[in-house]
Symmetry: C2
């Protein structure tokens, strides 16, 4: 709980959120557009009489989904106390079916959904069935026209693990580093035949996961050599040969934070410094 100087106490609230990104133009609020942040902010405003500082762990692009998104927002402590017990039910009733809030919790002011995050974890779903994507998952599964080899996908992916300059896989942004540490990049085939890539890193630059998937798919279907994606790590600018995979196959599935709340501030400080590296 914090006092903003006006004598009114405020609390920081963590929200665990999911959304079907199909009918949104992305996370970030844009006037006149249907965005996840805009939709969520409107409803939170309505039940809390004003919220501020809605901040998200992963600003997903248009069409990208989330089942494990995390955000925070600040609200008046008295108003939060009045609805806390019923907040999830109220939000379920007021939000459209394509945005859900699974849980809410009061967190210390040092919790920052974006900067205190230790890692983000994404899944990318692909159907190489020949007949296309499963009808009840066509909104979050890419249809790939050629059969994929898990062995080739995983062999190529292994070269991208660890800390590298992912400039070839990133949209250029001034004064921002493109060095990232990928702790997992693996492919599996689920019992229903769907091929799923799991990618975890401290953070990602824009469209990076979709570029990684886009670089690996032509290896998986045999059109590119297994060592081709790894060779891209020597580039210092975006590689135009890498086709960015479509957004709808991608879902943010988890964001990790320090287990000990006392470490939120230190983690946020470290993240801010790292991002400034050029």
């Amino acid at each position: 709980m914090a006092d903003d100087g006006s004598g009114v106490s405020h609390v920081r609230i963590r929200l665990d959120v999911g959304y079907d990104g199909t009918d949104f133009v992305g996370w970030a609020a844009q006037p006149g557009q249907r965005t996840v942040a805009g939709t969520l902010h409107d409803v939170l405003d309505r039940i809390l009489g004003g919220v501020s500082g809605l901040t998200v762990a992963g600003r997903t692009d248009a069409g990208v989904h989330a089942t494990g998104q995390v955000c925070h927002v600040d609200a008046r402590a008295d108003r939060w106390a009045a609805i806390e017990a019923t907040a999830v039910h109220r939000l379920a009733g007021l939000l459209p079916a394509d945005v859900r809030v699974y849980a809410t919790s009061v967190v210390p002011p040092s919790f920052d959904a974006r900067f205190a995050a230790l890692y983000r974890r994404y899944a990318y779903r692909i159907s190489d069935s020949g007949w296309g994507s499963p009808v009840l998952r066509h909104r979050d599964t890419l249809a790939w026209p050629r059969p994929l080899s898990l062995e080739r996908l995983n062999e190529a992916a292994a070269a991208l693990l660890g800390e590298h300059d992912f400039a070839a896989f990133c949209r250029r942004k001034e004064h921002a580093t493109t060095i990232r540490a990928i702790s997992e990049l693996s492919w599996r085939r689920d019992p229903d035949g769907i091929v799923v890539a799991t990618v975890q890193a401290d953070a990602f630059c824009q469209a990076m996961v979709r570029s990684l998937v886009g670089a690996l798919l032509p290896v998986g279907d045999g059109r590119k050599a297994v060592d081709w994606p790894g060779a891209m790590l020597t580039r210092t600018v975006r590689a135009s040969e890498i086709v960015v995979a479509p957004p709808h196959g991608l879902t943010l599935v988890e964001v990790g934070y320090p287990a000990d709340a006392a470490q939120y501030a230190a983690r946020a400080e470290r993240t801010r410094n790292l991002r400034k590296r050029t």
Copy 2:
């Protein structure tokens, strides 16, 4: 292969089909409306230069989905022969993402997708999480506001098993029997928390599965007695107390046929006679 008298040989083709029913007004073709049959017929017409007699195992209502639908259609044998090997790929490219054809096969003229079927199997998905339906399955999962007891659901369901007059659960249709044989009606909770009803019968009358689910849900959440749905079997007309569950939770998952093609005709004959019972 059959000759229709014009000297042109025709073949009957079985299509294994799935669809996301959300954006369709149902299976049956209706002028000016987006229907599954209309969409499928247009594309088959285009690649086969004319098809006739598109017949489906289960005429699903608006908003109901299918992952295991079966239909048949008749086409010129020469035209089918020319595209048979690539039919699934062609259909995948021409159909919208919410209709898929998994497989095609030539069947004897005695195969009738509707009348030769031995059983239909449906699944109904419900989330009683409190926060609503999973964001990536909100189109095929009903959000139920109260916790459901599997024990109560299964106890009540057991009374509906077997052959009964399901008049209470059926929309009235002149000169048509409402006697049906339910061979399975069971509830489970999946690892992801979703409650799933599985219902299998020789056939169903219109909205019957949704009426069965609609009668069981208020038992599952404790508002009705466990013996209430079974007591409805004594009714001879539709019971207005039974709320028909919304269509979007329902999916046709399987249609069964005799293993031996020689039995198609006998099964179809038997079905036609049974349906005439009043």
